[in-house]
Amino acid sequence: MPFAHALVAREDLPIPAWLFAWGASIILIVSFFALSAAWRTPKFEDGNWRPLRAGASRLLLGLPTQIVCGLAGVFLFGVAVYAGLRGTEAPDRNFAITFLFVTVWLGFPALSVVVGNVFKPFNPWRAIGRAVGSGFATIAGQRPARLAYPEALGRWPAAIGLLAFVWLEVVYSASGGVAVGVSPHTTAVAALIYSSYTLAMMALFGVEKWCERGEVFSVYFGMFSRLGSFGVRDGRLGVRRPLSAATGWATVPGSAAVVIASIATTSFDGAQEGAFKGGIESVFDWLVDAGFGLTTALRLTDTIFMALCFAGIALVYLAGVRGMETVRGAPPLPKLRSGFAHTLIPIAFAYLVAHYFSLVVFQEQAQFTYLLSDPLGTATTDLFGTASGGIDFTILSANAIWYVQVGALVVGHVTGLTLAHDRAVAYWGDYRQAARSQYWMLAVMVAFTCFGLYLLSVANA
């Protein structure tokens, strides 16, 4: 049975797990002083954009490629929904669960960082929306009328959708033990409801507008693509300085909520059967004593703890921003609040890697063997002759997982610190004042690192 974290108990580490948190904090502090002394001008504000050859843009962004990728996205999404509706109810034997919650949900952030926003051409709802829009324009001889998107809403619909998606996965369907506990049928129904909602919003506000603001997966994967070197500008593929595109991401309202939701949901998923277990059990018992049914009490308790995670992470970030505001020459608070939100993107990515790295390595073996050959999990098909395959859990030792987790968290937080320092130099001008303003961001980064390592150490114990 595939477990999310630490299949086997960790072997003896050379030093206690908590000393890794101390070591990581020292690395952050040293990085902070190095940045303060040596990083005197902003380097990420200008992305150093260089377009690739026109032929590469034509090949990868042209209509034929868009159609092929769109069809592939719609086909795979259709297979997942069909498997969810018609396949086995065992989550670990049904293609839908691993494909949607592991291959897509966890695979695309990594792909986006490395090769750019690849979800965009494969997005099934975007492909359907564009096809319908083109059909309408051909028949009616005009483009469909659109409502103006309320800009004050910004990316809030995506932030709420992100919380709802993870809530469905880890709260509504909490079952314990199985990698993803949600039932395939529930997943398929939820996917169909989400599809209807997304297509309706695309019809109202336009396909591209909704993908930029409200479509959960486009916004979420697009956020991670800002960390990488590849991007599209004015219809041309190009290369830019890594991390530079992140600087312009959080100017839209609600962006901070998206990245905080990402960190909070990952933290909650990692902590619910580890660090928060005692607290969750206490609140659950209290709710049951108060007369709630067992399922309602469990969902309510998990919802409360997930909301607390979101509030806690938001508070730590806002405390860091408040601290910056006290430094002479600081911009107004709203500008600081949105101006530093992008520094959390590498942290969100680091949390994803740290919490789900082992899950991806194990579950992708299932994805490309028995789930691909027997997508319904009914043991009646063997499409590619790999239905008898399995997961080799010895491929990763528990210690190797721990070192990857520690490495991801350290690299993610040092990257966040670097982005924050760069933005501070741009805002304050004087690098000494910029360094002063970043004292509090250093505290935020150390807090997130230690919190992350604590969650992982308890989950892996």
Binding site: W18, A21, S25, I29, Y439, L442, V446, C450, F451, Y454
Partner: protein
């Protein structure tokens, strides 16, 4: 009867070890900020004298 150390529940307090680095950083920041403000005040007083 009690000839062993009462360490059965010590694991419950392990989280404090993860809080130490955060507290040390916050303490250093507060201390540095206060001393910088005092220095700035002294300098401004000296310049008015």
């Amino acid at each position: 009867m009690h000839d062993f150390l009462p360490l059965a529940h010590v694991g419950h307090w392990l989280w404090t070890l993860y809080v130490f680095p955060v507290l040390i950083v916050i303490f250093s920041i507060v201390k540095t900020t206060i001393s910088e403000k005092r220095k700035a005040k002294r300098d401004s007083q000296r310049s008015t004298d």
